[in-house]
């Protein structure tokens, strides 16, 4: 039983939310030509860390908006909640984001227009 602070509606009971799993998984652009294995990184492989985890949640019974949440899977401590489309602001959240194996995948690179892929690599999708 969690008490989650929806970034728009305020603190609400966990039962109003649905969890969408790992956050910051960008969809490869159509023009990219990934191998099946690379595509699988995007579609099938998910982290399951013991500790801080960046997740997508949706306030299903409220404003129906998706948002991101940095939650410790051991203590259930919620380190921060931040809107969809932005990256974590906390030190721990930033570290968890940077440390993800996903940052180096071809699938993530393929989610950005080709000519910008290098420059935007460190940005959060």
């Amino acid at each position: 039983m969690l008490l989650i602070t929806c970034p728009y509606c305020g603190p609400r009971d966990e039962s109003e939310f649905s969890c969408g799993g790992e956050a910051h998984i960008a969809r490869p652009l159509a023009e990219s030509s990934l191998t099946d294995a690379e595509f699988a990184d995007y579609l099938f492989l998910r982290d399951n860390p013991k500790g801080l985890f960046l997740e997508r949640w949706r306030h299903a019974a409220g404003c129906r908006r998706w948002f991101n949440m940095a939650r410790d899977t051991v203590t259930h401590e919620i380190v921060e909640i931040y809107p969809m489309g932005s990256g974590p602001a906390s030190k721990a959240g930033k570290a968890a984001h940077a440390a993800s194996w996903r940052r180096d995948t071809a699938a993530e690179a393929a989610s950005k227009p080709a000519h910008k892929s290098r420059a935007k690599k460190d940005k959060v999708s």
């Binding site: 008490l3 009971d13 649905s18 969809r27 401590e77 969809m84």
Partner: protein, 983 residues
């Protein structure tokens, strides 16, 4: 009946006498009594039989930790087993019975188990019921089930209401003893929103059971005054009869309130119990402490009790557990009991203090350095045997033995986030350790501060600390004067002997069982618990755990601190399942949604079926029809012959608007929608990103930037969620808005050769719906019945000339009546979901049965619908080699031959192959009797199906032990060219 052991004084209302029965005998008590105190006052010591050995057992405690005095309350449907007599408030006419005995409490046949106890020790079940293996299901399990459990349920539905509720506060205080009251007073006076919960019906905790002075007045009176002050504060909610049973994340607590357990029957409309979810910014646990026993041979005899309970019964309830009571202690607290008993005029047989340096007593004969080594007596203690300091023996006759083994802080709630209590040597007890839930502070005896003055001060201090964190200012907070005597203890856990010394009296675990666990190497505390069941009873080891750990520590030569303790989990005390269910029973179990034509359908005598949360008409029986298929066959044939009508409002409808609506649909559908002309409808296939089909349906373009999508009834919620995910997480840049419109519109399918004629009678005349003006797959905003706005779609699920007409939901009832009236000349027939299903199978339309999550567009023969010219979800992986292989599964129709029946779920095999997994060629997804074909038909997937039309296959259904033969054919049983729906 005279109350033989009733004393003077006490906190009972002698002006309100109450009658009750126990095992059929009538007794008397007073308002303020518990069942336990009333039984003791009446001289009843034997109240139950133990779980395993059926040993006679009596009342041990005066609180929620009671392991023995479990009784069955009330009669009929309200019969409730395993109720703790110590927590049962007496009411007039209460009916209570003992449990786990046959034929009577005094003479119990199963007590024979006690004679065979040598064979029934720890691990008995694990060792005995191992072999032969075949015996488990037929012999052992039924036997164990027969013997297991204590009380029995009535078997009738519970007539009472149980409720759930939500409350919020700044500070939750758990326990209304001196620490809790002081904490609540401090916070309440500071203006904080406070909730104070206490499991007793009278505030004060131990203060109600002691002879103590607080602020110059009797402690119980001080507690009553404090409670009254709290009740008078608008910012404080005092909840008696309420137990905090669990601590969850982020300050969420579960509290069980027993609203009406103290009444014969709940007041009309009020719930019996309420399970509250309390959201507390901060909380203070002031749950007090529980006195431990000392194990010695036959220490489970009725009359052997916690010394604090004996004192409590005498002081609060004026009920002496016996006329002559001995006291066995290892600490100063036992002497307090002696003083209180003496003050109440109860005869004290002896004080047996295991400490050689025991303080002198001026109220009774003291045996310092002595222990109680055994007890004797029939159905209750009559004598105890002392082993004196000089090694000599002595018998002391007594009707009760008050045992004081030291106090265990009630740390349970601090463990609910996996916190581990830690050992504190000076009080020889576990106190809260690391891992106490965030926001929860512990005060008073619950953290080992046992004196009243200490508890009061700690309650205030913890409250001040919590208030400071909440930013609430406190100007002054004084603590009343009270007793501050320290308690000295020299631990003694068990007295060695040759018989059985009991640790866990509810689960019948002895010192020897712990020895056996040690011998068989189940030495870790968690192993010890599971092997012996020590601490696994309803009291979660509150009276037994530390004793068992101490015995194990002795055996392993480790300290108790090193041995550690098991952790406690919610619920703190046994909680009825009904309280968790709350109001979610019967019609409130889950919502039932009614489509707009429901009332009309009910008038027609429709048979309804639950479809998700909807109640839909399944068929409309007519007079004389006895079998459901008569009705369904008639509905199908009448529709195909002339015209039928069906409520399809339950299909999911999603309104999609925005400049990028078309592009958005191109992304979520495998086929293209941005090119769909305004006023037209197109069938769409929606894939998951892994290439499997998620859902299908038609989407209409109502305007340049306005589409209306339909989904299957079952997937309406899932598809909407998926679309919102795509919009918000994948493509937030798109200008598109999604609004669920399912409830907005009442929608009816009108199908059959006469469908247009019926519609022409209701559609306002200015709208031309002729075939030329309104061809197949057209859609348009129109009006009906003289100006009612409507939307008309020319789409067909049945394969007939068909329309779906939508009107605002409020007109749904009027619309179905208008359609029925307009269709009368054509013998219009309403049809339900069964006929709908038959017709879609006859037409070869797929639905949830086929779209089972493993099916691709390729399997459906719709590979061409996955556009490769645009990006769409699922397009990439739909092209995986194995998914587009030529020998993959392919949708086919099946027609049974030789009068056989197609059954859904059957697997398909070629004529002459073995029936095994290796030769499995596919499976049947849908089946129906087709009145049109006159045979049992179905849809299914079989390898290379497109090339196998005409072939005969065997349909094997081992689950139902059936097999049949069927011919593979096109899935379009009727009108494969689609001429009817274009006509």
């Amino acid at each position: 009946m005279t109350q033989v052991n009733r004393l003077d004084g006490g906190l009972i209302d002698r002006d309100t006498p109450l009658d009750f029965t126990f095992d059929g005998r009538r007794y008397g008590g007073f308002a303020g009594d518990t069942l336990a105190s009333a039984l003791l006052a009446n001289g009843v010591r034997l109240v139950g039989r133990s779980f395993k050995y059926h040993r006679p057992r009596g009342i041990i405690s005066a609180g929620s930790e009671e392991p023995n005095a479990l009784v069955e309350l009330r009669e009929g449907a309200r019969r409730e087993p395993n109720s703790r007599a110590t927590m049962t408030e007496l009411h007039d006419g209460l009916v209570a019975r003992s449990q786990n005995r046959f034929p009577s409490l005094g003479f119990d046949l199963m007590a024979v188990n006690d004679r065979f106890s040598a064979f029934l020790g720890a691990g008995f079940y694990y060792k005995t019921f191992m072999w032969p293996k075949a015996f488990w299901e037929r012999v052992y399990e039924p036997l164990i089930r027969q013997a297991a459990g204590l009380g029995a349920l009535s078997g009738d539905p519970d007539p009472d209401v149980y409720d759930r509720g939500f409350r919020h506060c700044d500070l939750l205080v758990i326990g209304a003893g001196p620490a809790g009251l002081m904490a609540a007073l401090t916070a309440g006076r500071a203006g904080a929103e406070v909730i104070l919960v206490d499991e007793d019906f009278r505030a004060g905790g131990r203060l109600t059971m002691e002879r103590e002075t607080v602020a110059g007045i009797n402690g119980a009176d001080w507690a009553a005054e404090a409670a009254a002050e709290l009740v008078s504060m608008p910012n404080v909610r005092v909840m008696p009869r309420s137990t905090a049973i669990g601590v969850f994340d982020h300050g969420i607590y579960s509290v069980l309130e027993r609203v009406a357990d103290h009444l014969p029957v709940p007041r009309e409309g009020t719930p019996r119990q309420i399970l509250w979810r309390v959201y507390a910014k901060r909380a203070i646990l002031a749950a007090g402490a529980t006195e431990r026993l000392i194990a010695f041979d036959n220490n489970d005899r009725p009359g052997i009790m916690q010394a604090s309970a004996v004192r409590g019964y005498v002081n609060r309830w004026a009920a002496a557990p016996a006329e002559r009571i001995a006291i066995f202690t290892n600490n100063d607290d036992g002497h307090r009991t002696a003083a209180d008993l003496a003050a109440a005029g109860v005869e004290i047989a002896a004080i047996i203090d295991s400490r050689p340096d025991a303080p002198a007593s001026d109220v009774a004969e003291l045996f310092a350095g002595a222990v109680v080594s055994n007890s004797s007596g029939r159905r209750g203690v009559g004598h105890v045997t002392l082993r004196l300091a000089d090694g000599g023996r002595k018998h002391v006759s007594c009707g009760a033995l008050a045992v004081s083994g030291g106090w265990n802080p009630n740390v349970h709630l601090t463990c609910h986030h996996r916190g581990r209590p830690q050992w504190q040597e000076n009080i020889a007890a576990f106190v809260p350790g690391d891992g106490v839930p965030p926001g929860l502070a512990v005060a008073g005896a619950a953290r080992g501060i046992f004196s009243t003055a200490g508890a009061l001060a700690d309650g205030r201090d913890q409250a001040l600390a919590q208030l400071a964190e909440l930013g609430i200012k406190v100007t002054s907070a004084t603590v009343p004067e009270a007793d501050d005597t320290p308690v000295k203890i020299t631990p003694l856990w068990h007295v060695g002997g040759t018989g059985r010394a009991w640790l866990d009296q509810q689960n019948d675990v002895t010192v020897k069982d712990v020895g056996l666990a040690h011998q068989e190497n189940f030495r870790a505390v968690e192993h010890l618990k599971r092997y012996t069941t020590l601490g696994m009873a309803g009291d979660q080891g509150r009276t037994s755990n530390v004793l068992g750990l101490a015995v194990m520590a002795e055996l392993t030569g480790k300290t108790i601190a090193d041995t550690g303790t098991t952790i406690y989990r919610p619920p703190y005390t046994p909680t009825p399942i009904a309280a968790f269910a709350g109001r979610s029973v019967g019609r409130n179990f889950r919502p039932t949604r009614l489509p707009p034509s429901h009332h009309w359908a009910a008038e027609q005598g429709a048979v309804f079926v639950e479809a998700g949360s909807w109640m839909r008409a399944q068929w409309f029986p007519r007079e004389g029809e006895v079998h459901w298929r008569e009705s369904v066959d008639r509905e199908v044939l009448a529709t195909r012959r002339s015209v039928g009508v069906c409520d399809v409002s339950t299909l999911g409808k999603i309104d999609i608007q925005g400049n990028d609506a078309g592009a958005f649909l191109d992304l979520v559908y495998s086929n293209r929608f941005s090119t769909l002309p305004v006023g037209r409808t197109r069938y769409g296939l929606m894939l998951r990103e892994d290439g499997m089909v998620m859902d299908d349906g038609t989407t209409a373009r109502l305007g340049e930037t306005h589409y209306l999508m339909t989904t299957t009834t079952a997937n309406a919620v899932g598809v909407y969620r998926h679309l919102e995910f795509v919009r918000q997480c994948l493509r937030p840049d798109m200008d598109v808005q999604l609004i669920s419109a399912t409830d907005s519109w009442a929608q009816f399918a009108v199908a059959g050769p006469n469908a247009r004629r019926v519609l022409q009678a209701v559609v306002d005349s200015q709208h031309d719906i002729s075939n030329e003006a309104f061809p197949f797959m057209a859609c348009r905003a129109i009006s009906v019945c003289g100006g009612v706005p409507a939307r008309l779609f020319r789409i067909s699920f049945s394969g007939e000339l068909a329309y779906e007409i939508a009107v605002p939901a409020r007109y749904g009832d009027a619309m179905i009546r208008a359609l029925m009236a307009a269709g009368e000349p054509h013998d219009i027939t309403p049809y339900g979901t069964e006929a709908l299903g038959v017709m879609r199978i006859e037409k070869g339309h797929v639905t949830g049965n086929e779209l089972n999550g493993t099916i691709t567009a390729h399997n459906l023969g719709m590979a061409k619908m996955v556009s490769t010219k645009k990006d769409s979800i699922g397009a990439v992986l739909a092209g995986r080699e194995a998914l587009v292989a030529e020998d993959g599964l392919c949708l086919v129709g099946l027609q049974a031959i030789d009068g056989d029946h197609v059954t859904a779920g059957a697997h398909m095999f070629a004529e002459s192959t073995p029936v095994d997994a290796a030769h499995d060629e596919g499976y049947v997804t849908s089946a129906a009797w087709s009145p049109h074909i006159g045979a049992s038909i179905g849809l299914g997937f079989i390898v290379r199906g497109a090339n196998r039309h005409g072939e005969t296959v065997r349909l094997m259904n081992p689950l139902e032990g059936r097999s049949a033969r069927a011919r593979i054919c096109s899935p379009h049983f009727i009108d494969p060219e689609g001429e009817r729906l274009r006509g």
